[in-house]
């Protein structure tokens, strides 16, 4: 069986670690990772709980393909109720941590309660214990990882930890593993901090913790899948060469690259911060920003950016600790740290990104919040005296300072750490917050791409691009080309993408495989790894079940149809220039149809028939 069938329950209040068998019926109904942990969370907490209170739970979870030779089979997710949104939060990460958890014999770890003092969890195969983390509190994720490995004299331990952002309650704090991979969005790191849990460290050496059901069929399916990834233009060439940053110029030229807090839909500095720019030699030192591409565990795509900064750049001139190579900007980070606030200095973006990794906070939400603050400053609502610096559009100096302050909760960084929604509300201009359900938009304009607008409005974790990536049909023509401004057919296509994505996330593989893989490539891998019949139809039903369960959690948390919307700027302020000029998001045309194809009432509630069909 591809599951270890073991769950580790850690009660932080009592300081206990207990083992329980995995609910195998739930594994059959929800597959693993995102789906399975959602089922556990929904069954164990009151959806109305304060996300930062003791009653919330935090689940680290793997999938059946995690820790196997399936390409990209190294993913894990962190599932909890998110403080940024008040909705369900599920943040997915790569690196090596997830597979290690599986090697140690665990499908998931459920944290409950709150520790009286800072602790970290150490898992060595079947043994788990909570250890004092007082000496790590106030330290970065990089320091934490290094210190734990040294303390236990084992460089092969993998660590997922929070930095100072998670400790100080930055609402979009992340959990960082393997130095620069992150369960990045929705503030899962803030929940971890609220529990006084600094880190999870794991080493797995077991050979009998789990097994693929049919090895021969598994390798046939896995090898075929790898061949498809290698032969595909996006996964075989584009992503390894440019990373997700391959998109910067494409989306900009399409006129769907939001900039200046969504005032504009193109960015004049896009070329300077995109994937191609990372390859170019800097005039200052003759070296490119990008040093190498790197892979997560088991990944044959290797889209990861590894960058080295210009040591003479103002942000790091006297800070040799940032002169070595580390995680470079991916597309979403480059957009948020750059286009969203008008900054076109790639080195400044890279430095801010290093800080996001080092102290654990989401560069998308951070950059977008800086963009909102810059608009407030531009309008004269925020002043230099209040902020402590000149917050002018495009100021790399301001971006760098705010990144440093936000990391440690200092000065105006404390306000930036609240996120765009709370920032704009605080200064009386809630409509300027480019968020849905409290979470900041990623790097695609919901007016320029109608399907993405609908995706943002309906995503269960707030504005998000990795719940139903309509960029695939609207820009890349995968699986079919849909015109960006068309609304017809978008709700049904979005539903299909959302359900498929839930399957991918629950299997333990990376969503980026779907640039090349369809369900027909994924299904044989799941089928061979897991016992039982996992037909394509059943998998899509699982995906739909997961989506609806997340929806029900959110409804229970008090969210409703009124939250399935977009900021007024996207609904009423037309794009001013470029190929999508004149566009607003026609959410009113698409949302009712979306509810209908989902089998929900006009109020966005799953009907009794839908609940029955999905065995909810």
């Amino acid at each position: 069986m591809a599951w270890t069938k073991k769950v580790l329950r850690v009660n932080l209040t009592a300081g206990t670690c207990t083992t329980e068998p995995l609910n195998q019926q739930w594994a059959q109904d929800y597959l693993g990772q995102r789906g399975l942990a959602t089922k556990y969370l929904c069954s164990e907490i009151d959806p109305k709980v304060d996300p930062l209170a003791e009653g919330n739970k935090l689940i680290f979870v793997t999938g059946p393909l995690t820790g196997t030779m399936a390409a990209t089979g190294g993913r894990y997710s962190v599932v909890t109720k998110g403080p940024l949104t008040g909705a369900i939060a599920c943040s997915n990460s790569g690196g090596y941590f997830g597979a290690e958890l599986k090697f140690a014999g665990w499908d998931m770890v459920i944290f409950e309660g709150r520790s009286a003092k800072p602790v970290y969890l150490l898992i060595i195969d079947g043994k788990a214990e909570l250890l004092d983390a007082s000496h790590l509190w106030g330290k970065t994720t990089w320091h934490t990882e290094e210190t734990i490995k040294k303390a236990h004299q084992d460089p092969q331990i993998r660590v997922a930890s929070i930095g100072r952002a998670g400790e100080s309650g930055v609402m979009y704090a992340a959990i960082v593993n393997d130095l620069h991979r992150a369960a990045g969005r929705s503030g899962v790191g803030a929940v971890m901090g609220s529990k006084n849990l600094k880190a999870v460290a794991v080493r797995g050496t077991l050979t009998d913790a789990y097994q693929v059901a049919n090895p021969e069929a598994f390798f046939t399916a896995v090898d075929a899948g790898k061949a498809v990834l290698a032969a595909n233009g996006v996964t075989g060439v584009g992503l390894p060469t440019y990373g997700t940053q391959v998109l910067m110029n494409i989306i900009n030229e399409l006129g769907a690259l939001p900039s200046y807090n969504h005032r504009e839909a193109q960015f004049e500095g896009a070329n300077a911060i995109g994937g191609e720019a990372m390859h170019e030699k800097r005039p200052t030192d003759g070296k490119p920003n990008l040093v190498k591409n790197g892979a997560c565990f088991g990944c044959t795509i290797a889209c990861g950016r590894i960058s080295r900064m210009d040591p003479n750049h103002f942000s790091v001139k006297d800070k040799p600790q940032y002169h070595g190579a580390s995680g470079g900007v991916e597309y979403e980070a480059a957009w948020a740290l750059g286009a969203a606030n008008g900054v076109s200095d790639l080195e400044a973006l890279t430095y801010a990104n290093f800080l996001c990794n080092e102290d654990g906070y989401d560069p998308i939400s951070f950059g977008a919040t800086v963009g909102a603050a810059m608009e407030l400053y531009d309008l004269g609502i925020l002043t230099e005296a209040e902020v402590g610096l000149k917050l002018t559009w495009g100021s790399a100096e301001a971006l760098v300072k705010l990144a440093e302050w936000t990391a440690v909760g200092e000065g105006f960084g404390k306000i930036i750490g609240l996120g765009s929604k709370r920032l704009c509300a605080k200064y009386g201009r809630p409509e300027l917050s480019m968020t849905v359900k409290g979470q900041e938009f990623p790097a695609y304009d919901g007016r320029g791409l109608q399907g993405m607008g609908l995706e943002y409005a309906t995503s269960n974790r707030g504005a998000c691009h990795v719940r139903g990536y309509m960029v695939s049909p609207e820009v890349l023509g995968i699986p079919v080309k849909m015109e960006p401004q068309a609304t017809e057919g978008k709700p049904a296509m979005l539903k299909a993408f959302q359900d498929l994505t839930a399957v991918v996330d629950s299997a333990g593989i990376c969503l980026f495989t779907t640039f090349a893989w369809g369900l027909q490539d994924i299904q044989p891998q799941i089928q061979a790894a897991c016992e039982g019949d996992w037909s394509e139809e059943r998998l899509l039903l699982v995906g739909e079940r997961i989506w609806n369960l997340e929806r029900e959690f959110n409804l229970g948390a008090g969210l409703s149809k009124k939250d399935d919307t977009l900021p007024p700027r996207l609904l009423t302020e037309a794009i001013k220039t470029g190929p999508q000029k004149g566009a607003v998001c026609h959410l009113d045309k698409m949302l009712p149809e979306y509810y209908e194809v989902r089998g929900w009432s006009a109020e966005g509630v799953p009907t009794a028939a839908t609940r029955t069909r999905l065995s909810l």
Partner: protein
């Protein structure tokens, strides 16, 4: 013709498919802790380096073994640990200058790369060509080719 594992660290992305393949081949498990090849990440230098036994001709592990549990496979050139003979004394792990032979506590024996009998699973699994299995006498061929490509014998064509 004998073949050798040939490693080009510049091509390695750190995906660890090689470690899983090795573990599967020898332990029927994907647990990379059991792999005989290890990929080292030199983070600040942005380098990933796969490393395993190079099958020394005068193999110090083989010479140090008091029970003659390490034998030469004349076909592949690999030095192979004979499990029934190995007593787990670990002297070979001290003798090896490179650290590529290691004790396995769960079996009480040592393990090292045996070239999978002539079809190394790591090379097959590597998606980037960082690990290849090539003519043992010509591991430098690709590097030579690259340099050859840079020579210019006819300046007139430049």
């Amino acid at each position: 013709m004998q073949k050798s594992l040939h490693i080009d660290p510049n091509k390695c992305t750190g995906c660890l498919q090689c470690e899983m393949a090795c573990s599967w081949e020898n332990h029927r498990s994907f647990t990379i802790a059991k792999s005989r090849i290890k990929v080292f990440s030199f983070h600040e230098a942005a380098r990933f380096v796969p490393y395993t036994c190079t099958q020394c001709d005068e193999a110090w592990c083989m010479m140090a073994c008091p029970t003659e549990a390490i034998k030469l496979d004349p076909v592949t050139g690999a030095k192979i640990v004979l499990d029934p003979t190995c007593v787990g004394c670990k002297v070979c792990t001290i003798a090896c200058p490179f650290g590529t032979i290691n004790y396995v506590a769960s079996s009480g024996k040592v393990q090292k790369c045996d070239l999978c009998g002539g079809a190394p699973a790591c090379a097959k699994a590597c998606p980037t060509g960082a690990i290849t299995f090539v003519d043992a006498d010509w591991t430098g061929l690709e590097k030579m080719r690259q340099w050859a490509d840079k020579t210019d014998t006819n300046p007139a064509t430049v």
